[in-house]
Symmetry: C2
Subunit: 356 residues, 2 copies
DNA sequence: CTGAAAGCGCTTACAG
DNA sequence: CTGAAAGCGCTTACAG
């Protein structure tokens, strides 16, 4: 915080005095009230410009007991998926005249508590929270004032979730993974792994469910060694590649937890002398920019994080206007983005490619 | 903004009443004053917890005429470079007990004006601005109250800059481009293009200068057709590929404005049947994650945007404590990140590779 | 160590 | 259409 407050702030009182009006009248001008005489308004506006007055919304909000800020707490801003999400949120909030209070947690539950406590002191009207891994509804409630509109994004918060009363926006992980799996099945693959992610994360669990569903519909029961865990990063994933080939027959394809993992697997396979798109098929999830740019381009599930950001902002704005009311849970569609290259068919039957 | 204010806020007065103390005393407890009796303090703290009181920093700041928020206005949050920067800023601000007011402009000068006006109404203590392309110091000054500490990042603001009195943090574009050019020269290239970027953007001008300097030191005068402009995106860059081959002899290498452009060029060359790393050498700038992951991996100039974000936050924090004082201009180092693949030597002399 | 009073910059009834 | 007074939630001298 600054030591010496700068010169002196131009205040509504200054404008009133200069125009020889009461503060109440100037206040009406500021908020565009039709009650004010046009000439008076013009005089005030000229004076405002002349003195370089800037409205102090904090003071106004204090008096009116409202807030036009929304806190946005993101688990990992350096992940393009969440950065895009944040951009979408901010865009929509700004359009609605709200301001975004940003907080990043770096996936640390502890930092999340601190960050939330700090942001809440600024009395946001609502909170959009993309929770750090391992977040717990109980601990969150300790720092969130009751009645604060909250929208949880992307990651469910365990059992108690039903009781939180918070809105939720998620991705259709089940459907997305099912689409990817069906795609590989359609290419003739029968031994399909699910690769990467932490089993206990809700999104991983959901994607695995979609994968299992699709296999089950094709009469296939996944072998235990088709399910390989890894941290959701490229590096970790590359390191887990060998796990796919511990037993024979090995899988011929993998539905990956996300694009980072898929790209890691591509690298890991290359290191083993296998080439994705030639003798192994891979699908991703997220459709990050690299998915299209990598070699080979990655068939993946597209979720449009920016649109999700806009959607999240719209949901919280709605909730601000209707604080009471049953919590809303929304699951956004996932779309298969075929890029004929990473998903080539290679086993058991003659080679052919997906028609996108 | 919300319609119905929720129940009623627990206030410092409530705590004071419950503890049978004056508000002043409770206020002292809140701010950890040593003046308060330990028993009194304990009572107050228990009551605070019991009632779920949350400090209203806005009210406190109003009274104290200070602010602990910093506005962060980013031209393009969906660009990983700026997202990383934002993450670094937020991290450092949060550590210092400040809160980040986020605004995105999407490279629109008009939106930038609106966003700034809106954020300034929240009386931030300072502003970190990564200006939209085409920003003008004069127009910015219209919305920035005089005396507001401002740190401009990454893009200089034209002639008047010297007079703005604003701090500036930039990348060492000149040096970065020089390093890249020298690297290609060392590989034996003599006909080296500078590819992509808008000539009138300050960062492009600086990178071109570094490129020219390096060539000049090697006794080479760049041909006009070695200088190709394009929007700084992958797609636009790919479309400009042909411009490199309009005249013979064509360049054998290109220093690219940034990684996006470089990756676009790689794609554009592939479309023409040329393979980067085999018969053409390319360097990038930024070291975005894709640079390492793309095929072939890209030799590029690394600028560590997250560290730049931390640096920017540190600079503005410092300025908050010393509002007066000459503006600081800082240029961050750039480092060549060699990835033997995209930079192979191919012409005039036998092939060899860079040792990274 | 604690309290009564004034005030930060604004808005909201209530009069006129 | 405009003004005088009170108050949002906090802190700051000033007394005691």
């Amino acid at each position: 915080m600054p030591d010496a407050p700068p010169p002196r702030r131009v205040t509504l009182t200054d404008i009133a005095r200069a125009c020889d009006l009461s503060r109440a009248t100037v206040s009406l001008v500021l908020r565009g009230s039709p009650l004010v005489n046009a000439r008076t308004r013009a005089r005030v506006e000229a004076e405002i410009k002349r003195q370089g007055y800037v409205y102090h919304r904090g003071a106004a909000n204090l008096r009116r007991k409202v807030s036009n800020s929304v806190a946005l707490v993101i688990n990992d801003l350096s992940n393009p998926f969440f950065a895009e999400f944040a951009a979408g949120v901010d865009e929509t909030l700004a359009e609605a005249g709200h301001v975004t209070l940003l907080g990043g947690t770096g996936e640390s539950v502890e930092r999340q508590q601190t960050v939330l406590a700090s942001l809440l002191e600024h009395a946001p009207a609502g909170l959009i929270l993309s929770p750090a891994e391992g977040s717990d509804a109980g601990r969150l409630r300790e720092v969130l004032r009751p009645g604060l509109p909250v929208l949880v994004f992307n990651r469910e918060l365990g059992d108690r979730d039903a009781a939180t009363g918070w809105d939720y926006l998620g991705l259709d992980n089940v459907r997305g993974a099912r689409l990817a799996t069906e795609h590989l099945l359609a290419l003739g693959h029968r031994r399909i792994a699910f690769f990467g992610g932490h089993r206990d994360s809700s999104s991983c669990a959901q994607r695995r469910r979609g994968y299992r569903d699709a296999l089950a519909a094709a009469g296939i029961e996944p072998e235990p060694h088709w399910l390989v865990e890894s941290a959701p990063t490229r590096l970790e994933a590359a390191g887990q590649t060998a796990a796919l080939f511990l037993r024979d027959p090995a899988p011929t394809a993998a539905v990956c937890y996300n694009d980072a993992v898929a790209l890691g697997l591509v690298a890991g396979l290359a290191r083993r002398g296998r080439r994705v798109g030639e003798d192994f098929a891979v699908t991703g999830f997220d459709d990050i920019p690299e998915a299209a740019a990598s070699f080979p381009p990655l068939t993946t599930v597209s979720v449009d994080p920016r649109a999700r950001g806009r959607e999240a902002a719209a949901m919280i704005l709605q909730r601000l206007h209707a604080p009471e009311g049953a919590p809303i849970t929304r699951v956004s569609p996932a779309r298969l983005q075929c890029r004929a290259s990473s998903d080539v068919r290679i086993t058991d039957t003659p080679l052919h490619r997906a028609t996108p």
